[in-house]
Structure formats: structure tokens, C-alpha cells
């Protein structure tokens, strides 16, 4: 047994051993317990009030999502229909083992919070490669744990790290009741090969790709204020995290009259170009170099051509055929957009697949989108208006996290 290689990161000290923590089940809470609500509220306040996080939009966004009003709304949304509650009780699953992505992304915290709201115990494995973001996450978690020493949630959470070691991962996997795998496709596949117990569930969030769908007519017809709002919303969806979030659009598809596309696209990108040059995007020479390589790769693979709409490498737009719109192998993000046009929604079906997650839309009615979806599309997990691309939802990648991280006990 090599569990001694495990390093505890939060809480900073614990009377429980990892082994004991993972096997004990008597301390599970119930869904939306006051203790869990207090814990989440404190976490949110810490993120929003501590000036240390001011410069980290992802931490502010997390704190914002965790604010009391939003959690109450979630609790309402997660409320079980009476038809079910009459003969079912919702309980936590037990121990949830969270495997965070190696480039620590805050997104796994969202599912961690949902898990603790459901009353589970949580073991989080962070990458052994320390990063600034990882330090911030630990800092805030430890602040909350110190502030709430008597809250039972503080004793049902452990954040650990260990050098890559299958023996440890296998052991921890064998103890959990649910395993949340975040990360690149390789990481997720690799962890999946380590068995969990037969009664446990695996929830996998692999790398995904997102795109924006803009109506040609709506962009051309938008009034100044509406157009400015669209541009701002698009920029924050895409430049807030250097376009690295899975739900940040990496492609733009125009829908409508093909003769008007170039006019609409010129109007749109000129405004985006001006906006990103005012935006604290943090892109550096190495990012631009990465983009230059991608431009060449995409030209080789799909014969795409750079669009002259941008004034420099902060914004890179590549005109491509539909076939080159969804490019998951090389796409480097960092303000790089593949662009094409379709005359009807169903044309997109040809390139959609299960790796495509979010579609942000502008100027297209919900009814029109519903009709399209109901006829069956080969991909997509969520459709949201432009500007809400990065908002987390309890239904993520098509998985209802409340349902997945709890269980129903029926009684007749």
C-alpha cells in the first residue's frame, strides 16, 4: 500500500486518515442541509469579498454562481416533483471521488459544490503539478474550513494530491460511490480503466467544443445598443478565460441569407476586434505563436483562409467550409474563430457530434431551435443566448448532476 504518498492539501490538518475518511459512511448529510447551505454561502462570500480574488474573474464568477440567491434557485429547480416525493426519499450517494483536470480549471468546483449540497462526502484529487490557480482554490477552501470548524461539511471534505500512481488511484476508486472525471480525453479514458465498485457510478466530463450561431439578419438589423451588448457578451464568453473553457465558442456559424453574410460578418468582427483590444485578455507572444501554427494547420487540413477583419493577432478569424468548422484536434483557443455560413439549421447536423457541447445563439427564436432539436441532432448539450456560454448549470454535458450525485429510495 502506497497511500503514504498522498499529501493532504485541505483541510491543512485532519484527525482522520484518508483510509478512514474514505470508508466511514456514518457521517453523510441530507440533501440541501442547513450545514451545506452555510458552507456554500461562506465560500461564496469569501470569493466575492476577499480582494485577493479581484484579479481572477474565474474565482469571482464561481463566487457569483454560489451566491445564496442562485443556490436557492437551484434548490427550487432540483426540487423533486410531488408525484415522486410521495413515494421516494432523496439521499446522498456516499463518497464522491473528484478527479480535477491537470490544468486546474475551476469548473470541477461547481460539481464539487453540487455534490456537497446533496450531502455526499467528497475526496478531491488535484494534479501534482502546482499552479497559481490551484493555490487560489486551496487558499479559499482552507479559509472556509478554518472559519467553520464545527460545520459537519468541513469534516466531509478532503483535498489531496499525489504523484501519478495507478496503485493509489485504483485504491481510491475502489472506495468511492461516485467518481467525477474532469480532464482531457486521455485522462478521462485512463481513469475509466481503473475499476470502481459495481454499485458506483462514473460521471465523465471530457474535453468538449462549443460554437456560436448568429443570425445574419438579426446582426444587421440590431440597433446600436443591442449590437454593442451582443459584442460585449460574445467577447466575455470567449476571452474571459482565453477561450480555454470547454463552453467558450471556438467557431461562429452564420445562419441566414448567404448573400448578406459578408456584410454581417464584417460588421460583427470589426466591432469584436475593437472590443478585444480594450479587453484584459492576457494573451502573450507565445499565444500568438500558437495561433500562427494553428492557422497553418487548419489551412493544411481544410484550406481555410485568414479573414482580414482583425487588426492583429488578438483576434484571429479563419474562413472555412462547413467541414472545417468543428476542429477539435489542434484548435488552440486564445481568440481564434473558425467561421462559416449555413442557410438553414439542419445544415449543421452534418458536422455536429457528441464532442460538441454548447451552442450560443443570437437572433434565433427558441421555437426555431426547439423544432430543430426535436427532429434530432447528433451533438450539443446546451443552447444558451450569447453571453451565457460560461454560466454553469446543474445539467452539464447532458448530465443532471443533482440526479447523478444522489439516489432515490422508494417507498410504497
Amino acid at each position: 500500500m502506497t497511500l503514504s504518498a498522498i499529501r493532504l492539501l485541505a483541510p491543512q490538518q485532519s484527525a482522520q486518515s484518508v483510509e478512514f475518511f474514505c470508508q466511514e459512511r456514518s457521517d453523510l448529510l441530507t440533501p440541501f442541509s442547513p450545514a451545506a447551505l452555510e458552507f456554500v454561502e461562506t465560500l461564496s462570500r469569501q470569493l466575492l469579498r476577499d480582494p485577493a480574488f479581484k484579479a481572477h474573474p474565474e474565482m469571482i464568477a464561481l463566487g457569483y454562481w454560489l451566491r445564496k440567491a442562485n443556490i436557492s434557485r437551484l434548490a427550487e429547480q432540483a426540487a423533486v416533483p410531488t408525484a415522486v416525493t410521495n413515494h421516494a426519499v432523496r439521499l446522498p450517494r456516499g463518497l464522491v471521488f473528484h478527479v480535477a483536470p491537470s490544468n486546474v480549471d475551476t469548473i470541477f468546483i461547481y460539481s464539487l459544490v453540487i455534490s456537497l449540497l446533496m450531502g455526499n462526502k467528497n475526496l478531491v484529487r488535484l494534479s501534482s503539478k502546482s499552479s497559481a490557480q490551484q493555490m487560489l482554490i486551496l487558499q479559499v477552501l482552507n479559509q472556509v474550513l478554518t472559519e467553520l470548524p464545527d460545520n459537519p461539511v468541513s469534516h466531509s471534505l478532503m483535498v489531496v494530491t499525489y504523484p501519478h500512481d495507478d496503485t493509489i488511484s485504483r485504491q481510491l476508486s475502489s472506495w468511492c460511490d461516485a467518481r467525477m472525471l474532469w480532464g482531457g480525453d486521455n485522462t478521462v479514458s485512463h481513469f475509466s480503466s481503473l475499476p470502481v465498485r459495481p454499485t458506483a457510478v462514473d460521471i465523465k466530463f471530457a474535453n468538449k467544443y462549443s460554437l456560436a450561431l448568429l443570425s445574419v439578419q438579426a446582426v444587421l438589423a440590431a440597433d446600436d445598443a443591442g449590437f454593442a451588448r451582443l459584442v460585449r457578451a460574445f467577447v466575455s464568453d470567449t476571452y474571459l478565460f482565453g477561450q480555454q473553457a470547454c463552453s467558450s465558442p471556438r467557431a461562429v456559424c452564420w445562419l441566414g441569407d448567404t448573400h448578406m453574410v459578408s456584410q454581417a460578418s464584417t460588421k460583427f468582427w470589426s466591432a469584436v476586434d475593437a472590443a478585444v483590444n480594450q479587453y484584459p485578455h492576457g494573451l502573450m507572444a507565445a499565444d500568438f505563436m500558437q495561433k500562427l501554427v494553428f492557422v497553418a494547420e487548419h489551412a493544411i487540413d481544410y484550406q481555410s483562409v485568414l479573414s482580414p477583419v482583425s487588426s492583429d493577432m488578438t483576434l484571429t478569424v479563419l474562413n472555412t467550409e462547413l467541414a472545417g468548422l468543428i476542429e477539435t484536434r489542434h484548435h488552440c483557443g486564445r481568440g481564434t474563430f473558425l467561421q462559416t455560413a449555413v442557410s438553414q439549421l439542419t445544415d449543421l447536423n452534418a458536422v455536429l457530434h457528441r464532442g460538441v457541447q454548447t451552442l450560443t445563439y443570437f437572433g434565433i427564436s427558441a421555437g426555431e431551435l426547439q423544432t430543430w432539436l426535436q427532429a434530432g441532432v447528433p451533438g450539443l448539450d446546451r443552447l444558451v443566448p450569447v453571453g451565457q456560454g460560461l454560466d454553469f448549470d446543474y445539467i452539464w454535458d447532458g448530465v443532471d448532476l443533482f440526479a447523478s450525485l444522489s439516489r432515490f429510495v422508494t417507498i410504497r
Binding site: 490544468n103 482531457g184 480525453d185 486521455n186 485512463h190 507572444a285 492557422v295
Partner: protein, 359 residues
Amino acid sequence: MNNLDFFYQQPSPYSLGAAEKQQVLHSHLAALDAHHQQHCELYRRIASSQTAAGWFDQQVFLPVRLFKEYELKSVAQQDVFKVLTSSGTTSQQVSRIALDRETAAHQSKVLVKIMQHYLGVQRLPMLIIDHPSVVKDRLSFSARGAGILGLSTFGRDHTYALDDDMQINLERVQAFIAKHQGKPVFIFGFTFMVWQYFFQVLQQSGQQLDLAGSVLVHSGGWKKLIDIAVDNSVFKQVAFATCGIQRVHNFYGMVEQVGSIFVECSHGYLHAPDYADIDIVDARTMQKLPDGQQGLIAVSSVLPSSYPGHRLLTEDLGTVFGEDNCPCGLNGKYFHVHGRLPKAEVRGCSDTHAAEVKP
């Protein structure tokens, strides 16, 4: 088809003044642009994309990294005479450069022209700071092996200073020195190897070798040395202190443009020869920067016709200080290399640390 006679006829590889160079070099490079557009479909696609954005005054510069991913060549497979690969020191992919006889011949000839400028036309006794197995497998050249073989042309009585276990074979080195006592000697090695396995070992053991009057040529980059705070001046001091070497020439070159190398002059600047040019590029605008400003190094060479490597954007940072007015008296642009472009922070959940998942 790639006729370089005009360049070969110059009295030295640093003959052309700015105005003439502009005219001759650039018309030659423009001809290579057209040649590669016609013979390399992948290059044509990249060129169509880049020119649409109006970068680099409408010239097309390929990022060097592309040679690691794609087989970019402008000759038929049966005309490929050998394939150069960059050193596989890391698990990363290696560059593969397809050479036909013509390009290979130009590479050797230009290297001769440039090296003779520093070593003279006589072939000197040559001490190689490496171990002999690095050149054993002649079918698959590593960049280190290729570099050593390429420069071996300029020496005779080739003697390897190291054994296969990277230890100095002092007996062999002393015998070499004794044999050529009082005559100039040519010493070659890769910067890091020369420092780590030769100078430092000598320095630590307090041994001194009498290599006064010899010329040391070295290359391969400073990255590992900068990490241990060794710069060019420290390197030169130790060369003198341990071996009495006073003439040290670093050179900058890459496997993607073998031949037209940039050699350090007597005043410590790297110089562009007639066959090549250097530009400094602003990564944000993808436009060339004026002299004195730091940016990405873009290198041009008239040699590559079998692969589209005549204009390349490197991932090295440098500054050009001027053209034709270096205190050393040589023509051409002169510059410094500051090191590799710092890596960008990687975010998101894609597999960037693939190594981590390997058992």
C-alpha cells in the same frame, strides 16, 4: 534549378551591402516563394491563408514547429536524398527535413564558404567535443550527428575528446595536442556539451590544456546554460582559463535551415551572411520590427528548394542592432539571440500534460 552562382562568386560570404542584398536576396527568395507554391500543395494552402491577412509585408513565413507535424516537401519522394531530423532529446516530435541532392549540395557548399571565412582554406586538425557513437548510424542522422559530420569537412585527424560514457579521454586529447603542438587546431562541439563535459570537468579538476592559438566553434543554444547562469562572456573566460583558447565563435542555425548559419563575429554579434537574412517580428501584429527592438526571430535562406523552409519564423527571441555597420567590419545584419520565447500558461481541460496520464 536553384542557381546560387552569384552568391558563390562573391569574395567573402559577407560581401553584399544592404541595397544590393535587398535586391538580389529578395528576388531570389521571391523565386523560391513561387517555386514552393507550385511544388508543395501544403505550402500553397498556408501561403493563401497568410497572405489574405497581409502579414510580414505579404511574405509568407512558416512557423518552424510545422516541420514536426507535417512532411513539407517540394520534390517528388524519389528525389529525396536524405531526411534530416532534429535531435530527439525530449519525447516531443522531431522535425523531418527532406533534402534532394541539390539542396544538400548547396548546404555543404555554403557551410564551407562561411566556415572558411573563420578557419581559413587549410583543413586544420580537429578536436570534437563529443563521443564517436553520435555519428555511427549514418542512415538516421540526429541533428548533433549531422552537425558534427557537416563540420568535419573542415578538419583532419578528427579526434573525439569524449568516450561513450561522456568522460574526457585525457590520454587521447593530450596525444592530439602533443602531435599538433604549435599549430592552430579547430575545436567543435555543441555549446552545452563543451561546457558540461569539457570546460567544467577541466575547471573542477584543476587541469589545464594547451590549446592556445586554436579556434573553438560551438552551437546548439544557450537555454541550458542560461538556466545555470552561464552566458557568452563566462563561457569565453573559462575557455581561456582552462585551455588558453582566445578565438571562440558561437553560431546560430537550425536543422530547418542547415548551411546558411549565423556566426558570432569578433565583437560578439551574430552575423547574417549573404545567403541569409534575419528579421525581428512582433508576434501580436505579425509585422516586422525596426532595429533595436526585441521580438521573434524570422530567418530567410536562399538554400532550401526541396522543402519550403526558405522563410521561417522561429520561437527564439532576438534583437537586430544594425546592418553593414558592425564594428567588426563585416556586412550584413548583426544581432543577438536572447533565448526561447517563454511558454504560455495553459488553461482549460484539454490534454496538455499528456505525460501525466502515462503509467
